[in-house]
């Protein structure tokens, strides 16, 4: 069994996001970038399955600018066997990513495609689902547990009502939740070895896919600042303020 894992390069989750002055996006110059956190879980799960002898190869793929190579390299350092970088410039929407991934899937013919449930930069939560539709493969989203049973997948999903367990046929798409596992650290010797693992570089334009954005971005703004709270001395005062000032009761 072969597993393809999609990883995205995003602004590190510890960095405070700053909106560009001209409201066209957020500042990314000199900002620490990292792998999208749930994508780390996706890689970890794929590597675990391989270590358990249930998969033969883990391939990491990233779509983005040249520097997304670092993200692929990180995946190689924690156990992926080889990498693919699809180079693009500018904003690339989930539909375009899904179409590019479809091309990669047709080329690589994996049995499973793993990725994070959503990216922490645009919060779209669409790529896995769209890829599933394009390929006409079954999907399991928000996976918090994955088991391979007789060539099928048993996936536990975190949903509002609790935990839902479903069984799907392979080949399939699985999008991963943060609770799926605890990603390992990349050790120094493994980072060294990862430098020698192959990364195939492709240009998005060579894959014959229309990746022009379908959404027009009007502007990006910071959320409004929260006003400081006040202390009230009694319940009566609270009720009075809720009624007359906040006008919520």
């Amino acid at each position: 069994m072969k597993i393809l894992v999609a990883v995205k390069r995003v602004i590190d989750y510890n960095v405070q996001i700053r909106v560009k002055e001209d409201n066209t996006g957020v500042v990314t110059d000199n900002v620490k970038m990292s792998t999208n956190p749930p994508d780390d879980n996706a890689i970890e799960e794929a590597v675990k399955i391989k270590e358990a002898g249930k998969a033969t190869e883990v391939v990491a793929v990233s779509i983005g600018e040249e520097k997304a190579q670092e993200t692929v390299r990180k995946a190689l350092a924690v156990g992926a066997d080889r990498g693919i970088l699809v180079k693009t410039d500018g904003i690339i929407e989930p539909l375009a990513v899904s179409k590019l991934l479809q091309k990669i899937v047709e080329k690589e013919k994996p049995d499973l495609v793993f990725m994070g449930k959503q990216a922490i930069d645009d919060d779209c939560n669409q790529t896995g689902q769209m890829l599933s539709a394009l390929l006409n493969w079954p999907q399991a989203t928000f996976a918090s547990k994955i088991e391979i049973k007789d060539g099928k997948l048993e996936v536990t999903r975190e949903i509002d009502e609790g935990l839902e367990t479903i069984e799907i046929n392979v080949p399939a798409i699985v999008t991963c939740d943060l609770r799926l596992n605890e990603p390992r650290y990349a050790s120094l010797p493994n980072i060294m070895k990862a430098k020698k693992k192959p990364i195939e570089q492709l240009n998005a334009s060579d894959l014959g896919v229309d990746i022009t954005p379908r959404i027009e971005q009007i502007k990006v703004e910071e959320p409004p600042k929260r006003k400081a709270g006040i202390k009230v001395s009694s319940v009566a005062e609270l009720v009075q303020k809720l009624k007359n000032e906040a006008k919520v009761i």
């Binding site: 590190d12 960095v15 700053r18 002055e21 620490k32 605890e182 650290y185 120094l188 060294m192």
Partner: protein
């Protein structure tokens, strides 16, 4: 589980200007060398904080053609000002009366973090292996006592030091020579200085704490290339310190404050002095209408010539501010740090090729311009222990008339942890509340540093005696850690009338001030799990 071992010709600890300069020069001298460079930050530059007005002298020697390359050195200094601040007034000091060391017309306003990122690219292109996110936590020794290399931090230990599922043991990195370039108060450098008595016969080291904020300001207040320094208010005459305001590119201003850690009043809060400083009319008018986009703090070394330890030992060299090569009157240390790295590389090259002992570093250093600079600068900082006015008068005579060649050397008398007076003998200081426009509290500031440490890991700020903060330091000094820490790591909490000392180590920005200033030297800073700490952008 036994640790894996990796062998190199040279292991470099720290990816700042001195470590990167060492790596680049080594590869230029001998491209065959296997060199690895460890950095505790999640990426090169993320733990670098500096003014910075950059003198290019060392870079001119290291990479002579840098001006033709796409470097982050872009903003030439075009204008200079020096202000003495009173509470509401300011007096401009004519620049022709400034000592030569404080003139900056040939220098550039840069982000040192970005310069380090660029230097790291140059080093990697030459074949240096750079590993960010791997703190060197331990020194390894050979049987004969010489330095063998370093071990990296174990990853995946919980609060109690018990292995989690993700446990990943550290690695032994063995170097024929190890270069320590951790910056001011490096935690391994500190151990080496003790073990090899590198500071024998030297004055106690002197430190300062430096704050920096980056502001995006109104176009009409911005003068790209302008460098301004101030002395005086809000500090009293007996506290050493001053500010910098550098107008960088993209309407940004680098605004900072440095306070000598030899201050005496335990009620003093360096953070609040910095915040208060911004409310001075001469400063407020620059940043008013602007927006603060970054914050950070870092200890720096001020001891200079008198306190500079021996920089070589069997198997290892100590470079940059891990030793203390900053030139205080010049308010610059990047060029001297880089030069010390270049000298280290040349020493190691001769050590390998000609079998010379590492002690040849000393002579090379003495014959270099760094030594000359530090020698001439040596009397400035100690003269300020007489107060601001006498310090300025003496510095004028020493630097302008004698050009640093007075026939005597003033001493640094005390280490910084010895200077605090008991709390009940010193005046309490009332600091104004932050307005969240010009001035801010520590909580909103720490948020801007991007600092984080994975939770459930051992506390990396170790107390030798866990009871001392409450039983002694609180009573005698009103526990100054609550105030000298720039991000509020230390708190004294009252729970049911019982006082408790709390360490919020996840907020730590690796400035090392506690390790320096704690009056009983009760706090030791050790490396947390790799990648932890601030995520500075263009600091």
């Amino acid at each position: 589980m036994s640790r894996e071992t990796m062998e190199y010709d040279v292991v470099i600890v720290g990816g700042g200007p001195s470590g990167l300069a060492t790596a680049i020069r080594l590869k230029q001298l001998n491209s065959e060398l296997n060199i690895c460079l460890l950095e505790k930050a999640s990426e090169i530059g993320a733990h670098i904080l500096s003014g910075n007005v950059f003198e290019t002298r060392a870079l001119d020697e290291l990479i002579p053609g840098w001006k033709e390359l796409d470097t982050p050195i872009k903003t030439k200094v075009t204008k200079e000002k020096f202000l003495f601040l009173g509470k509401n007034k300011s007096l401009s000091w004519p620049t022709w009366l400034l000592p030569a060391v404080q003139k900056n017309h040939k220098n550039y306003i840069i982000s040192l973090a970005n310069l380090c990122r660029w230097l790291a690219e140059q080093a990697e292109a030459l074949g240096v292996e750079i590993f960010p996110g791997f703190p060197a936590s331990e020194i390894l020794y050979n049987d004969d006592g010489s330095v063998k290399g370093v071990a990296t931090q174990d990853m995946g230990l919980d609060k109690e030091g018990i292995k989690k599922d993700s446990y990943e043991p550290g690695i032994d990195l063995i170097g024929k020579v190890t270069v320590f370039a951790e910056g001011c108060r490096g935690h391994l450098g500190k151990q080496l200085i003790n073990k090899f008595e590198l500071d024998k016969g030297k004055d106690p080291q002197q430190y300062g704490i430096g704050f920096k904020e980056i502001w995006e300001i109104d176009e009409k207040n911005h003068e790209e290339g302008m460098v301004m320094h101030t002395a005086g208010w809000p500090l009293d005459k007996n506290t050493y310190g001053g500010s910098f305001i550098y107008h960088a590119e993209n309407k940004q201003v680098f605004l900072g404050y440095v306070i000598g850690l030899d201050y005496k009043n335990p009620h003093l809060s360096p953070f609040d002095e910095f915040q208060r400083f911004k409310t001075h009319p001469a400063i407020r008018k620059i940043i008013e209408g602007g927006k603060r986009i970054s914050y950070g703090a870092r200890a720096l070394i001020e001891g200079g010539f008198q306190s500079l330890p021996k920089m070589f030992m069997p198997g290892a060299l100590l470079v940059g501010c891990d030793a203390g090569t900053l030139n205080m009157p010049k308010i610059k240390g990047s060029h001297t740090a880089m030069k010390s790295g270049i000298i280290a590389a040349e020493t190691i090259d001769e050590h390998f090729k000609l079998k010379k002992d590492l002690s040849i570093f000393e002579e090379k250093f003495k014959n270099s311009w760094v030594y000359d600079e530090l020698y001439k600068a040596r009397n400035v900082k100690p003269s300020f222990s007489w107060g601001l006015i006498l310090g300025i008068i003496f510095t004028g005579i020493d630097q302008i008339l004698f050009r640093g060649r007075m026939p005597f050397t003033l001493k640094h008398k005390h280490a910084d942890h010895e200077t605090l007076k008991p709390a009940n003998e010193m005046p309490k200081i009332e600091y104004p509340k932050p307005d969240n426009i010009i001035t801010f509290d520590k909580t909103s500031s720490v948020y801007l540093t991007g600092t984080n440490h994975a939770d459930n890991q051992p506390v990396h700020l170790k107390l030798k005696d866990p009871n001392l903060p409450i039983s002694y330091t609180l009573e005698k000094f009103d526990e100054p850690a609550q105030r000298y820490c720039p991000v509020g790591v230390y708190e004294v909490q009252n729970e049911n009338n019982v006082q408790k000392f709390v360490i919020n180590s996840q907020n730590c920005i690796h400035c090392k001030t506690c390790d320096i200033k704690e009056p009983s030297q009760n706090i030791t800073w050790v490396t947390p799990e790799g990648g932890g700490g601030p995520k500075y952008g263009n600091m």
